[in-house]
């Protein structure tokens, strides 16, 4: 713990957010989803984003992960300003650097667990043998090596989400983002998922950012920030 603490302090934060604004135009009125957010996230942190519905949690997460763009402000991840990348650069960047976990799992229904996990690797130059090894490792890590030939509909919700986590970490990204990953799960499955996410940050050194409005879920994280009407409130 001490060593990790020292290292984290010596290193640059993996995510540096400065004066981030996101304003949606809805006809005549403007909806401010993010109102000048500044935030640093250290490497290896398990950060939870909390706050009431509509407070801008998902919007912030999407900008950090490079699927949405802010109205103004900057967001550096590992020194790269993701707000400055064009669409195809972002696609490549996401593929290499970010693993996604969604509330609704978002597995591809016609592909087996194995094929779902392999998907992000198809965009890399890895040989099929290397891909196989990485998919196996990822599935073992979430405890589903024996379910690799099952289709999503043959799995329970908790299993589906674990496959989704395997898919998120198979490319070995430094950042894993999860938007209410336990929102559709029973408490037992939720615990499994949270334990895996926690161990990813603790033992694998991944930076995990998780949106949740469940304090019990947030307790698994190493730090929690609260959003309120698009602003950080601590």
């Amino acid at each position: 713990m001490f060593v990790r603490f020292m290292a984290a302090e010596a290193e640059e934060p993996i995510v540096q957010i400065r004066e981030l604004f996101k304003v949606y135009q809805q006809g005549e009125i403007n909806v401010t989803a993010l109102n000048g957010i500044s935030l640093d996230i250290a490497r290896g942190e398990f950060l939870t984003l909390m706050g009431p519905s509509g407070s801008g949690k998902s919007t912030l997460l999407h900008i950090i992960a490079g699927v949405d763009r802010p109205s103004s402000g900057s967001c550096h991840v590992q020194g790269i300003d993701v707000t400055a990348l064009n669409e195809s650069e972002l696609a490549d960047w996401r593929n290499h650097n970010v693993g996604f976990v969604f509330q609704t799992f978002n597995l591809i229904p016609v592909l087996t667990a194995y094929e779902n996990v392999e998907l992000p690797l198809l965009l890399t130059r890895l040989s099929s043998g290397e891909r196989r090894r990485q998919v196996q490792t990822a599935l073992e890590l979430v405890g589903l090596a024996d379910r690799q030939h099952h289709l999503p509909r043959q799995l329970s919700g908790g299993q589906e989400q674990r496959v989704a986590i395997a898919r998120a970490l198979v490319t070995d990204p430094s950042l894993i983002v999860a938007d209410e990953p336990t929102g559709n799960l029973d408490s037992h499955s939720a615990q499994d998922v949270l334990t895996i996410l926690q161990s990813l940050s603790r033992s694998a050194g991944k930076t995990v950012i998780m949106v949740t409005h469940d304090p019990k879920a947030a307790a698994y994280g190493s730090r929690s920030v609260h959003l309120e009407k698009g602003e950080l409130s601590n």
Partner: protein, 387 residues
């Protein structure tokens, strides 16, 4: 950087209930296309298949068909001693002066009446047409008012069974045998003795000469000699070429097949489009997920095009299979020149199957184009938020 093809294939199959109508629609289009083209192919084969490459056929200049040609006995006397003509061991020139007559006969099962081509043929003429063989009964005996009919016509016309007879001209003709033309134009003919035919139908003239020249060079010379001789108003050409030109009759069917297929394919394109719009609409979030994982717009478009193309391919395969059911089925049409019954078989050739499948895939891909582009245009974030 592409999505695996199994993604497209499985998506096409997994929604089979909702895509069935589209698959069947495309199957119908391809069925009609392949069937009509196989009809044309059958007609072409029966004409293109006819004749011996060594033989030369002589008809009257300007005659559109052998049956519409008239050649005088005088011409026969003059031509038969040309030295370009091959001779038998006994020194007789190998030339057959045939008489063709169209007669009207009743179809089976009160199916109305139709024209049948009757060929008065000499023993020489039979030797010159080795494609024709006897499949039942025996050959006719000259002078006995006997006739051998095509086995394929026999299935379509009344009184064509062995031993039956029909009235024609001044005579009652008895069917003593069935012939098979080996898929050639002779499958649409009935044969009897040439002299007898001229007597029954009171023909002083001949219709055509079929000649075997000594060799290739003699053949070329003979054609030139007949064509250039002012005394004759005759047209001489290779037998196979004469029949190949009759192939023109297949052109309208081909044209109709193409036209129908194009018209119907417009409908099929819209059906495919509708199906793929629905497919894409139901999978917005899935497509957004793929984009989030790093797949490009192009990869999504290609995957959807493969899906639509594959769906259509299934339809095309079904259409071909349905059309193939008719492969070899014998049917008949009116000859455009003679208005006689021409029998031929549907020929679903491998090329036609390939064309049909290709056609189907094109329909599917065109139908998928707009839905695929629309899906790929969605911003990633919008695709993700949709439920």
């Amino acid at each position: 950087m592409a999505l695996p093809v199994r993604y497209s294939f499985r998506n096409a199959l997994v929604r089979w209930r909702s895509t069935l109508a589209t698959v069947l629609g495309i199957a119908l289009v391809v069925f009609v296309f392949v069937l009509l083209q196989s009809l044309a192919a059958g007609i072409e084969k029966s004409s293109g298949n006819t004749g011996d490459p060594r033989n030369i056929l002589v008809v009257r200049k300007g005659a559109t068909a052998e049956s519409a040609s008239l050649i005088s006995r005088e011409n026969f006397q003059q031509i038969q001693y040309f030295e370009e003509i091959a001779r038998t061991e006994r020194g007789e020139p190998i030339i057959s002066a045939d008489v063709l007559v169209l007669i009207n006969l009743p179809r089976r099962n009160n199916g109305g009446e139709a024209n049948v081509l009757l060929r008065g043929v000499t023993p020489r003429g039979m030797e010159l047409r080795p494609q024709v063989s006897l499949v039942a009964g025996r050959w006719f005996t000259p002078g006995k008012r006997e006739v051998v009919v095509s086995a394929k016509l026999a299935r379509r016309f009344a009184n064509f069974d062995l031993g039956e007879s029909f009235r024609s001209g001044s005579a009652q003709l008895t069917v003593v045998g069935w012939l098979d033309g080996g898929g050639s134009a002779f499958d649409s003919e009935c044969w009897l003795d040439a002299d007898e035919a001229r007597a029954i139908f009171e023909r002083d003239m001949y219709s055509s000469f079929l000649i075997r020249p000594k060799d290739k060079v003699s053949g070329t010379n003979l054609i030139a000699r007949i064509e250039n001789d002012r005394r004759f108003k005759l047209k001489a050409e290779k037998e196979v070429e004469y029949y190949r030109k009759q192939t023109m009759t297949a052109a309208p069917i081909k044209w109709l097949g193409g036209f129908l297929a194009v018209m119907m394919s417009v409908g099929a394109v819209f059906a495919a489009m509708n199906t793929m719009y629905a497919a894409v609409g139901a999978r917005t979030r899935e497509i957004g997920t793929l984009r989030v994982l790093g797949f490009r717009r192009r990869a999504v478009v290609v995957a959807l095009l493969i899906e639509g193309g594959f769906l259509a391919f299934l339809g095309g395969g079904l259409g071909c299979a349905l059309a193939f059911y008719w492969n070899g089925y014998t049917t008949a049409t009116l000859g455009f020149e003679t208005f006689s019954e021409i029998v031929f078989q549907f020929r679903v050739t491998p090329l036609l199957v390939i064309e049909g499948l290709f056609f189907a895939v094109i329909v599917g891909v065109i139908g998928t184009l707009l839905p695929a582009v629309r899906a790929s245009r969605l911003p990633v974030i919008v695709a993700l938020k949709s439920v």
